[in-house]
C-alpha cells in the first residue's frame, strides 16, 4: 500500500531553532551598546517591548558583491519608476516574506530581556533567580494572638469565660466519675463548694450536699491558669518601593547630547528598578543656584544662566526623603547629572554625607560632558570630581572607555563620566555590578 501513516515526529526543528536563537542573542549582546542607546527606545512610554530588526543569521559563503541596494525580479502591472512600497527605517516591522529583503525578520524584544542580556553579559544571575526586594516596615501596633498572662486591662473576657465554662464541665465530669453520683447532686456540690473540687468531694462524702437546684445551670469556674489576655504585636508590612530622585544642573548651555545622555541613563535605571521593585517612583529636581521640583518634561527642557550650587539639589533630596520617602520604607536612589561645576563643593559633600547617613541605597553622580576631550583622566578633572575623589577617598578606574570613581567598601557612592553614547552601556553595567542597586 503506497499510502502509509507516519512515524512520530522528532522535534529536532525546535531544538535547532533554539540554537539559532541563542546565536542571535550573541549578536544582540554584541549590539547592546547600539540598542540601549537607541533614542526611539529611550523616549518611548509605557510599552514594555521594543522591536529591533535582527537579521536572521546565515553562514558566510563566497558571494557576489551587490550594491547597497537590493534588487530582484518581480511580476505584475507597472512600469519603470513605479513605487511598489516602502520599508521604514526603524520601529515598524515589515511583514516577513511579503517584502523584498526578507532576510530581516523584525524580532520583538522585551525590555526585561534586554536587561537580562546585560546581566548575562556581566555574568550576573538572571532575574528569575532574584527575589523582589522587600522591606519589612513597622506600621504601629495590632492585637495579635491570645496569651495566658498580661496586664488586667488586656484581659480577654470572652475567651476567659469560655475557659471557665470548660473548667466547670470538666469538674462536673470528674466528680461524677469519682463519686458515681448523678449529675444534679454533683452540680449542687460544686455550686455549694464555689467551684472547688476538693471541697465538693468532701461535701459529697459527708453527705452534706443541699439539693437546692433541680437542673444543671453551668457557671464559669476561674482558676489562675484560665485567665486569657490579648497580645499586643508590632504591626509590619512587606513593601517593595523604590524612588529615584533625579537631579540635573540646568545652568549653562543645554545641548541635545547632554539631555540625551542623562535621559538614556535615567530610562534604563528606572527600567531596571522596575524589574526589582513592585513600585517605582521618580522625582525630578532641577537646580542652578537653587533647586526646585519640576515635571519630567521640564527636567529635560529647562535651562538657565548663572551660577551653580549643587548642594541645593542634594539638600532638597534630603528634605524630600524626610518628608516623602523615609529610608525605612523606601529604597532611595539619588542620581545627579552635572557638568562638574559647583560654587560650594564643601556643602555639596556635606549634603551627600547626610544622604548616605540617612541610609539611601546609593548616590550616583553622572558627569555629562559630551564636549570634553579624551585626555581628561590624566589632566584636569572637574572641580567637583576632584573634591569627591578627595573627600570620599574614591577609587578611579576605566571600563570600556568609561571613567568611573566609586566608593570603597560599603560607601554607596558612584561617579561616572558620560561623554558619548557608547558610555551608556558600561555606565549601566557599573551600576548593576556588585549588587550596588540592591543594598
Amino acid at each position: 500500500m503506497p499510502i502509509i501513516v507516519s512515524e512520530p515526529s522528532t522535534n529536532r526543528g525546535k531544538k535547532d531553532a533554539r540554537r539559532h536563537r541563542e546565536k542571535q542573542k550573541e549578536v544582540i549582546i554584541k549590539k547592546l551598546p547600539e540598542i540601549i542607546a537607541n533614542e526611539s527606545i529611550i523616549t518611548r512610554k509605557g510599552n514594555k517591548t521594543v522591536k529591533i530588526p535582527i537579521k536572521m543569521l546565515g553562514l558566510p559563503s563566497f558571494r557576489q558583491k551587490t550594491g547597497e541596494d537590493s534588487e530582484g525580479i518581480g511580476q505584475g502591472k507597472g512600469q519603470p519608476g513605479d513605487v511598489m512600497g516602502h520599508r521604514p527605517g526603524t520601529g515598524q516591522p515589515g511583514e516577513p516574506g511579503q517584502e523584498p529583503g526578507e532576510d530581516y525578520l523584525d524580532t520583538e524584544i522585551e525590555i526585561e530581556e534586554i536587561i537580562e542580556l546585560m546581566l548575562e553579559d556581566l555574568g550576573l544571575p538572571k532575574l528569575e533567580e532574584r527575589e523582589i526586594k522587600e522591606l519589612l516596615i513597622e506600621i504601629g501596633y495590632k492585637i495579635g494572638g491570645i496569651i495566658r498572662s498580661g496586664p488586667w486591662p488586656l484581659l480577654d473576657r470572652k475567651t476567659t469565660v469560655q475557659e471557665g465554662m470548660r473548667r466547670f464541665w470538666c469538674l462536673l465530669e470528674n466528680l461524677r466519675a469519682e463519686t458515681g453520683l448523678d449529675e444534679i447532686t454533683c452540680f449542687n456540690a460544686i455550686k455549694q463548694a464555689n467551684g472547688l473540687f476538693g471541697e465538693a468531694l468532701e461535701l459529697i462524702r459527708q453527705k452534706s450536699v443541699m439539693n437546692s437546684e433541680s437542673i444543671v445551670i453551668p457557671f464559669p469556674i476561674f482558676d489562675a491558669q484560665d485567665m486569657r489576655y490579648r497580645e499586643i504585636q508590632q504591626d509590619t508590612e512587606n513593601q517593595s518601593n523604590a524612588v529615584i530622585i533625579a537631579m540635573r544642573d540646568v545652568s549653562g548651555s543645554m545641548d541635545n547630547m547632554k539631555v540625551y545622555l542623562s535621559q538614556a541613563m535615567l530610562f534604563w535605571l528606572v527600567r531596571w528598578l522596575e524589574q526589582v521593585y513592585k513600585k517605582v517612583e521618580i522625582r525630578f529636581v532641577a537646580h542652578d543656584t537653587v533647586a526646585r521640583i519640576v515635571s519630567e518634561e521640564d527636567f529635560f527642557r529647562i535651562g538657565s544662566g548663572g551660577g551653580t550650587n549643587c548642594y541645593s539639589a542634594y539638600e532638597l533630596a534630603n528634605s524630600l526623603i524626610e518628608s516623602d520617602y523615609p529610608t525605612n520604607r523606601w529604597n532611595v536612589y539619588v542620581w545627579h547629572f552635572s557638568d562638574g561645576e559647583d560654587g560650594n563643593t564643601d556643602r555639596t559633600v556635606e549634603e551627600i554625607i547626610k544622604l548616605i547617613q540617612k541610609g539611601v541605597n546609593m548616590v550616583g553622580y553622572g558627569e555629562v560632558q559630551p564636549e570634553a576631550e579624551g585626555k581628561w583622566f590624566s589632566s584636569g578633572r572637574s572641580w567637583l570630581w576632584k573634591e569627591f575623589l578627595k573627600k570620599f577617598n574614591l577609587s578611579e578606574s576605566k571600563v570600556d572607555g568609561l571613567e568611573i570613581a566609586e566608593g570603597k567598601k560599603d560607601l554607596p557612592f558612584l561617579c561616572i563620566r558620560l561623554t558619548q553614547r557608547e558610555h551608556i552601556l558600561p555606565a549601566l553595567k557599573s551600576f548593576l555590578k556588585k549588587d550596588r542597586w540592591a543594598r
Binding site: 529536532r12 526543528g13 519603470p80 516602502h86 526603524t90 511583514e95
Partner: protein, 499 residues
C-alpha cells in the same frame, strides 16, 4: 485522518497513477506518508526526511513555522524526494482536496525525476536519505564525545563551501594521482616527440625548451593539486594538513554528498515545479470530469491552485512562471511558432495569428522536461514575447535618509531581465572558485583563486568564509580575486587570528 478518507485517498491515488500514465508520464511506486504539519516543516528545512542537527536548519524551520502558523499561508504543501523509491508527505490536517492535489502534483514531480537527465544523475549517488538518517545518529554521538560546539564548527565550515564544485554536473572528480599521472604522461610525450619524430619541418628543440619541460615534470611530481580543482570540500577532505580527525572527515563527507545529490534539484527547480503544476491541473480536471471528486472539492483545489500560482510583486514565483512557460511552449510548438520563418516575421498581426497546425507541443514539452536545466530553458524559451506576456520586471530597493527603503520598478527591458535571470540560474549564483595550490609557500598554505566572471566578490563574506575554511584546513588560507572593475588583484588571507 479518518479511515474512510484514507481508503478514498488510496482509490484516488490508483486512478491518478493511471491518468498520469495515460498522459504519458513515467510512474513508479511512491510512498505517501500521512504525517503532521510539523514533520513536513522539518522536511522542508532539513533537506531530507531525517537529517543531522544544525542551527541553519532550525532557523529555516522557525521561519516556515512562523509563516505557517501566523499567516496561514505557506501551508506545508508538498514534500517529495528524488529517491530510488520516492517518498512524499501528506499532511493529516490539510483539507482532503488539498491532499488529492498533492498526490497529483507529486506525480508530475516523479515523472520529472525519472526522466530529467540531471535528476537521474542526482539519484545515482548512494541512498542519500538513509545516509542522512544514519548521519543524524552518528553526529549526535560526535556531539557527546567531542562537544556540540566543536561539531557545530566543523558543520559550519563544511556548509559554507558545500556548493563549490565543478560546474559540469556530470563531472566526476578523478583522484589526484590519476590526474598527476595523466599530466606527466602528456609532458613526457612531448619530450619523446622531440626524440622520435623525423621531419624536415621539425624545429630543433632548444636546450631551454627541454629544460622547461623537465622543470614542469619535476614540479608536477609534487604539485598539489596537479591541476586546479573546483571541488574545494573534496580537496580539503583528502589533503587537509590540519589534520582532520576521522569524525571530521565523516561530517564533511556527508555534507558534500548531500550537496551533490541536491544540486541537480537546484539546477532544475523551476522546470520541476512548473512541470508538476502543469500536470496537477490536468489530473485534477480529469478526476472532476470523472466524478471522482465533488464540485466542492474541485473548488477547494482551485483556491489552493490560485494561491500557489499567485503573482509575486517582488519575487520570482517558480510555480506560476514555469507553469506559464510550459503552456507557452506547448502552444508555440502546436502552432508552429518556432524556427526561422516565424522568428523573421516582422508583422505583429501575422505573428499573432500564426498557426501551421504543427501539433508538436506535447513532444516539445516532454523534450524540455528530459533534457533541459533552468538556465537552458531561460536562454531558449524566455523570449521577449513571453517576458512581456508575464509582465516581468526588475525592482530595486533604494535606501533614503533615515534608513527608509523605497522599492521601485527599475527595468522592464526583456533583454535585461533575461540577462539577470541567466545570471541567477548559472551555478545558482555561486562564484567559481578553485583550489590552485595546497602547498603554497611550501608551508601547506591553501591558495584559492576566484575565476572572474565579471563580478567582484563581497570582501566581508570572502574573509568570513576563509575563516570557516581555516577551521578545517588549519593553515593559512589565501584567496586571489579581482577588485573594482580594474585589473587589480586582491589577496585576502586568514591565518586563524582575528583582525
Amino acid at each position: 485522518m479518518k479511515q474512510q478518507d484514507i481508503d478514498r485517498l488510496i482509490t484516488l491515488e490508483q486512478r491518478m497513477k493511471e491518468i498520469a500514465q495515460e498522459y504519458g508520464l513515467m510512474t513508479t511506486e511512491i510512498d505517501f506518508e500521512i504525517t503532521t504539519a510539523q514533520r513536513v516543516l522539518e522536511g522542508m528545512s532539513y533537506g531530507f526526511p531525517i537529517n543531522f542537527s544544525h542551527w541553519t536548519f532550525g532557523r529555516d524551520y522557525e521561519k516556515y513555522r512562523t509563516i505557517y502558523e501566523h499567516t496561514g499561508s505557506g501551508i506545508p504543501y508538498e514534500q517529495v524526494w528524488n529517491f530510488e523509491r520516492p517518498k512524499a508527505f501528506l499532511v493529516e490536517t490539510n483539507p482532503f482536496a488539498l491532499n488529492v492535489l498533492v498526490i497529483a502534483h507529486v506525480y508530475g514531480h516523479i515523472d520529472f525525476f525519472l526522466a530529467n537527465r540531471y535528476l537521474c544523475h542526482g539519484r545515482s549517488f548512494s541512498d542519500i536519505a538513509k545516509e542522512a538518517r544514519n548521519a543524524s545518529k552518528r553526529f549526535q554521538d560526535y556531539e557527546e564525545r567531542y562537544g556540540a560546539k566543536e561539531v557545530e564548527a566543523i558543520i559550519d565550515a563544511g556548509m559554507s563551501i558545500k556548493w563549490h564544485r565543478n560546474s559540469d554536473p556530470f563531472f566526476e572528480e578523478p583522484d589526484e594521482e590519476t590526474v598527476r599521472e595523466e599530466l606527466i604522461r602528456i609532458e613526457r610525450a612531448k619530450l619523446e616527440r622531440f626524440d622520435n619524430i623525423e621531419s624536415k619541418f621539425k624545429k630543433l628543440e632548444t636546450p631551454e625548451e627541454i629544460a622547461q619541460i623537465e622543470r614542469r615534470l619535476e614540479k608536477l611530481s609534487t604539485k598539489t593539486p596537479p591541476e586546479p580543482t573546483y571541488d574545494i570540500l573534496k580537496y580539503i577532505i583528502n589533503k587537509s594538513p590540519k589534520p582532520l580527525k576521522p569524525w571530521m572527515v565523516d561530517v564533511l563527507t556527508v555534507i558534500r554528498n548531500q550537496a551533490r545529490s541536491l544540486a541537480p534539484n537546484m539546477k532544475t527547480k523551476g522546470l520541476d515545479e512548473g512541470w508538476a503544476t502543469y500536470w496537477h491541473v490536468r489530473i485534477m480536471r480529469r478526476l472532476f470530469e470523472e466524478g471522482l471528486i465533488t464540485p466542492e472539492e474541485h473548488g477547494i483545489f482551485n483556491n489552493f491552485h490560485a494561491g500557489v500560482t499567485r503573482e509575486s510583486r517582488a519575487g520570482f514565483n517558480w510555480y506560476r512562471i514555469f507553469l506559464s512557460l510550459f503552456e507557452d511552449i506547448k502552444e508555440r510548438w502546436d502552432r508552429g511558432r518556432f524556427g526561422r520563418d516565424y522568428e523573421e516575421e516582422q508583422s505583429a498581426q501575422k505573428r499573432k495569428h500564426w498557426d501551421t497546425g504543427a501539433g508538436l507541443g506535447d513532444k516539445k514539452i516532454f523534450e524540455v522536461r528530459s533534457f533541459y536545466s533552468d538556465r537552458m530553458a531561460v536562454e531558449e524559451f524566455f523570449t521577449d514575447d513571453f517576458i512581456r506576456q508575464e509582465e516581468l520586471y526588475i525592482w530595486a530597493g533604494l535606501s533614503g535618509n533615515n534608513g527608509e527603503i523605497t522599492y521601485m520598478i527599475t527595468e522592464d527591458d526583456p533583454s535585461e531581465i533575461r540577462k539577470m535571470l541567466k545570471e541567477n540560474f548559472t551555478h545558482y549564483g555561486i562564484p567559481l572558485i578553485r583550489v590552485e595550490n595546497g602547498n603554497h609557500n611550501g608551508q601547506n598554505h591553501l591558495m584559492l583563486r576566484h575565476i572572474d566572471n565579471g563580478y567582484e566578490l563581497d570582501s566581508r563574506y570572502a574573509i568570513a568564509t576563509l575563516e570557516k575554511i581555516h577551521k578545517i584546513w588549519g593553515k593559512k588560507v589565501f584567496l586571489i580575486t579581482r577588485a573594482n572593475d580594474k585589473n587589480e588583484t586582491l589577496t585576502y588571507d586568514y591565518d586563524g587570528k582575528s583582525k
